[in-house]
Symmetry: C2
Subunit: 324 residues, 2 copies
Amino acid sequence: MTVSEFDLIEKYFKPLSPSGEPAFSLSNDAAIFEPQTGINLVYTMDTLVAGVHFFENDNPELVARKALRVNLSDLAAMASEPKGYLLSLALPSDMSDREGWVAKFAEGLKQDQEHFGLKLWGGDTVSTGGPTTISITAIGESDPTVAAIRSGAQTGDDIYVSGTLGDSAAGLAVINDNLDKKAFSFLVDRYYLPQPRINLAKEVAPHVTSIMDISDGLISDVSHICRQSAVGATIEAKKIPVSEAFGNLLATKAEYSDLCLHGGDDYELLFTANAKSDQFLSDVSGESSVKLTKIGKITDDREVKLLNDEGIEIDTKDKGFRHF
Amino acid sequence: MTVSEFDLIEKYFKPLSPSGEPAFSLSNDAAIFEPQTGINLVYTMDTLVAGVHFFENDNPELVARKALRVNLSDLAAMASEPKGYLLSLALPSDMSDREGWVAKFAEGLKQDQEHFGLKLWGGDTVSTGGPTTISITAIGESDPTVAAIRSGAQTGDDIYVSGTLGDSAAGLAVINDNLDKKAFSFLVDRYYLPQPRINLAKEVAPHVTSIMDISDGLISDVSHICRQSAVGATIEAKKIPVSEAFGNLLATKAEYSDLCLHGGDDYELLFTANAKSDQFLSDVSGESSVKLTKIGKITDDREVKLLNDEGIEIDTKDKGFRHF
């Protein structure tokens, strides 16, 4: 390895950074940002570690885009618009083709910067004796009059999710189990490339009582909302939206059915809303390419219950469900 | 290991986070911050990897404080006041006493939060197959009328540094060479606990033409300013301020003399100023416990020259000096 961290920054990361404020092409000790009057700022930080959150030999472009998108999904859950991000990249000291990897990684960042309209504001590149480790801090702007919180769910509210659940976890299972990746390419793509629901979240946020993105799995994340709102929930298993591809996978691998409950990494929206928002949310769902589905109700009994077709409770506690 | 990342956050990191805005005790997907009108925001991100930037068996309190302080030193260099930070902590999956380590680490953060007046706004805790890896994004506020930049140095400006140089690198050498840590405790302490010059930087920034903190070593960082300002510099070796402890170490280990030039991790201020700021900076130095020292002049020849007592150039190019 003859290329220094300084060279990598100069060659690959500087072009991702604006020449004026806030980043001055990464030339200062830090970025300077002049906030707009009357706008709130939203901050989130997520870390991806090779061997834990991605595979060291994954396509670096996709790794970069996923690292950015898991943060953008957090910004979406706060109904905010992405503005910038800081990137910390720890690269293994024994990575033989570090420059090639970084070049592709930066290309992935570039694509998603353009797609989502944000810029690189700063960061740090270091070497590590361990696996590639990527931390991103993303910064967004939000409307102070829209409260995107987890603590506002009320008894009687409907529980909604966007899109379909379990796809990403099923995609990972396809990879891990050496199933036919081409046949299940939809699922594998959903694993590699989350779709942060930024526009959808901004549209629904003024009409919801609580909202978050699903990253830990549906049941776990419904529990987060319930705990913070001091309520409970019933979820009807048959209403949980799954993709055709997920259904096809279950036809051969029925044991994966729980992935739509506990798989995680869905990066879909989970929110609760009062009946008065019903028509609005139904209209949004009708007009959007990403459907909204009512999957249950908020209750006052401080428990999260999953019900089968007969309305009988299914035990989820032994599958990663954290009781509260 | 029976304690989950969720438990660690709940028990150790939540108490470091404010219950209201911006972090809501870490209960949301992200922090929401309402910026003050007329104030700029400053962002920086630094990563510390065990085995590279600290030792895995170092006192976790000191590791935490150093991780925070290297970021605060970047904020200082931008003449900004620390407000908050996001923390990403990747913990080795084989760390047998993870909870004990995290408890001490959080205690270190708490001490420095109180000392520097900032709060934990968010972050991420993950496991890694590699070494402990800490990324911090720090956020500060700055006065938009004060330009703390690297690109404003002018021919004829004086070059100043704060405090003494080489101490931290010498402290690391004492540890690595198994010298008497007690005898050289001043140096070892300077290695473990940088002193970000926040107040000093705010005081001098309106009177300087360029400013940064010294993290890569004096010669390297003077070169950064020169490159960005399109100027050169002469530095008089004998004027570089060193501590008594550093002098004592050189008495037995003369080969360490270069550490005040190239050692890095000084976290002192480096700045340039016009002669008209002379009296002001002299007064500041007289009143401060951290002295300011003029070490040379900005020139127009686009080279950084280190001069010996006779005014003859000393070659620094073979010691990590990056020509530009």
